[in-house]
Amino acid sequence: MSSARTLESMEAVENRQRSTAPPGSSASGIARGLGWFSVGLGIAELVAPRAIGRIAGARKKDSLIRSYGVREIVAGVGVLATSHSAGWLWARVAGDAVDLASLGAARAARRNAGKKNMLALGSVAGVTALDVWCASRLSRAGAERSRAHAEGSLMVSRSPEECYRFWRNFENLPRFVNHLKSVQSTGDRSSRWTAYGPGGVEVEWDTEIEEDVPNKQIAWRARDGSHIWHSGVVNFENAPGGRGTIVRVQMDYGNTLKVIGLLATPLGKNPNQLIRKQLRRFKQVLETGESITTEGQPAGRRSGATWLDEIAR
């Protein structure tokens, strides 16, 4: 009976996660279009630099235009080969900037560059806007796709009520989540989290409880507009034979700066292992009152705990 319930709740958790699938699929279609455009323009610049020069209002610059052609082809092939990622599109944006600068320079050099130059400038500016939109959209999608997902479970010799009560007070989280410096309650369902980020930089965000089923489940999510993209859900399930509670957790971390997962994975730890270690500390705190350490013990070297302990904890 309880295993059926588990499956049900796991499914619910998965559905929640699926509904937050990353955006960006339309952007990758446009990216492919931009890729072909890039290749086409590049070939034209290579084989007919003079004609292109006339259109742009920039005469006698054949070799420069040919080199722009090579650049266009390289960027275009890059975009086509990796149309799901933003990298080559950002390269295109940089190329657009060079084009705009060149056209601007041509205009400045020749007072009567004329309507053609104006038209070319306008076209390139339009393409640039499309490139920027597409690249930034794909960047966001990429950031969310490469977020860290972690899950784990552990049996705790305490009742679901006790486990739920301890977890529900988010201010307890730093007692077993190592990379959290503090959590401050800011309302019944909201809290402010402070974490140690990469290089010791502190990162703060606000968290909202999305679902709260007493003694069974808590789901939370970082508020929109936070630096960090984070959500989590914990289930408390009666273990058979009065053996306590099976605590199951899933967490996702990411952020818009593409230092993805660094928060979830300090020192490059595997997120699932990290969750397991956190759960183990949760168990220690509930069963014994605190989590055991060797930090600060004596040894015949500089510190009592070593790099090996650092990895293991």
């Binding site: 010799s157 397991r276 183990r280 069963e287 605190e290 055991i292 090996l308």
Partner: protein
Amino acid sequence: MKANCWQGKRKVSVETVPDPKILNSRDAIVKITSTAICGSDLHLYNGFVPTMQRGDILGHEFMGEVMEVGPGVKNLKPGDRVVVPFPIACGSCFFCERQMTSLCENSNPNAWLAEKAWGHSPSGVFGYSHLLGGFAGGQAEYARVPFADVGPLKIENGFRDEQVLFLSDIFPTGYMAAENCNIQPGDTVAVWGCGPVGLFAIASAFLLGAERVIAIDRFPERLRIAREQCGADTLNYEDADVLASLREITGGRGPDCCIDAAGMESHTPGPLYAYDRAKQALMLESDRPFALREAIMACRNGGTVSVPGVYGGFVDKMPMGSLMNRSITIKTGQTHAHRYMKPLLQRIENGDIDPTFIVTHRMALDQAPEAFDMFLNKQDECVKVVLKPQ
């Protein structure tokens, strides 16, 4: 304070290190009055246990006087005399509630490492690699004892240190090995290895009603102690064919119980030793299981093989066919020392056993490097060394 530190393969040194402090609320600081070198310390010394780090303080058999307790310790006070069990156990997890304290779920902060190596993690242990928690050990002047409200056994009746020191590990270990055999009246028990654990296993087998114990080793002085102090019959495996002799002694049936008190660095005469030693050196197997193989082959149909000897990783050529086809039970485990300390203290009080019979050397803590070397090479008929920090 002074402490004996692991420095690499076959190298230990006594260093001056900071005094230990209370780190968790259920800690105690113990001023050590006696501490021993365990046969299992030789596995560390020889570099066979992974995750040792230069500077680790060794030692898991110690006793002394409580100097300080954390706010969570209510049953001890400064001045109490205690023996400390070698596994660290919280007293309240699934396994502690079932008195399987060497499997405590909350005392190994490096459980993740042990899970990688062994699937699941046992408890933390003093001074026994980072796989088992990386805790500073007790071959020192002072030690920090976590979960001090659960582990340490108070000694209140004026026994000398040596009479009760071995409650920390080897007496319970030998006893659990014998208990795991489920000895029945009339049983013959064979014990491979007459080091301290083997000797306590022999003595315990008799305490638990064995009819006859056959002790197997190659060092005459150890066989002599087994014979004279414990009442065992002895076999020197360098002179005799062990399997044939055991068959002969037991009327062809084989011993009812076989105890492997040798473990991962066991020895055998002849080419098989060279074969396994070479594989071990090439990391093709981590442990040499001669005693274990022989114990399985020797054991009678439906009998029990009990393994107190320490293993770390993988063994080759396990006679699974013999084990399976002949309904043999294997029982093993790090000792749940907490479970045995009080009843065995009672045994000592009753005069059933005097554990001091195994002590051959008493030395100062400063002499730990010489003591390790002597114990490893069995020089001067060394069986057990007790170190005195003060």
